[in-house]
């Protein structure tokens, strides 16, 4: 070991502690970090891209009016939104779900396809079980007022 520099040990300890605290904050850890190996390991363990949750997405296009459909994500997600995209038209006729936000509300058209309103629980709901999100129109039958998944419409969904 070469002994060729004089250092202020208190200042050095303080500086190393500052660096260690920055590494712990970025890496989301409270572990004690020994210099230098601990520093090196902790920095290597910091996720690339800043970490955080990933977003999954997909589409669903039914060929017939569908009362209920489930979407399963690869990983467990807390948030889910689905909305009607390509192919949607107010002139479709028959009620349809056009927007669903898990944990908040669903919005749909009426059976004339001309009015947009919040879907009450009896008319339809977006639920979650494990990794699966399900939107189901309300009622016991597929009637003209069931806010269903509309045929020919490409629904886009995101989960995070």
């Amino acid at each position: 070991m070469a002994v060729d520099k004089l250092v202020d040990s208190s200042q050095l300890d303080s500086d190393l502690t500052s660096v260690a605290n920055a590494i712990r904050t970025k890496g989301g850890t409270s572990a004690s970090l020994a210099f230098p190996a601990g520093f090196v390991s902790a920095i290597a363990a910091i996720p690339t891209g800043g970490g955080g949750s990933s977003v999954e997405s997909g589409t669903y296009t039914p060929t017939v009016r569908t009362k209920s459909h489930s979407i399963t994500t690869q990983e467990s997600k807390s948030n889910f939104v689905v909305f009607a995209g390509d192919g949607f038209s107010y002139s479709l006729g028959s009620a349809a779900m056009i927007l669903g936000i898990y944990g908040h509300y669903c919005v749909g058209t009426n059976n004339s396809g001309s009015t947009v309103g919040t879907i009450s629980n009896s008319q339809g709901s977006l639920t979650k079980s494990g990794n699966t999100f399900t939107y189901a129109a309300g009622g016991s039958t597929l009637s003209s007022t069931s806010r269903c998944w509309q045929a020919g419409v490409t629904y886009q969904w995101f989960a995070w």
Partner: protein, 84 residues
Amino acid sequence: MRYYKQISNGYILAIGTGLGFNEITEAEYEDIKIAIASKPPRTETTDYRLREDLTWESYEVEPEPEPDLDDAEAWEIIFGGGGE
């Protein structure tokens, strides 16, 4: 991206992207999408379902039952001047 089709009893119920159902190629997905866009219009007594060969087959639909009204809709119809 993973493409899929949902099949039941020889009919294509849906297509999509993501997990589940029968995986298909992008080309097959686009072919089915074109077929979906050409679905004949539904009437009060007739609807159409998509065969796996991408042709539409007509079938009789059940008369739709009385609409399921929730309390708010019923209230609107009775007191709100006509509802929907």
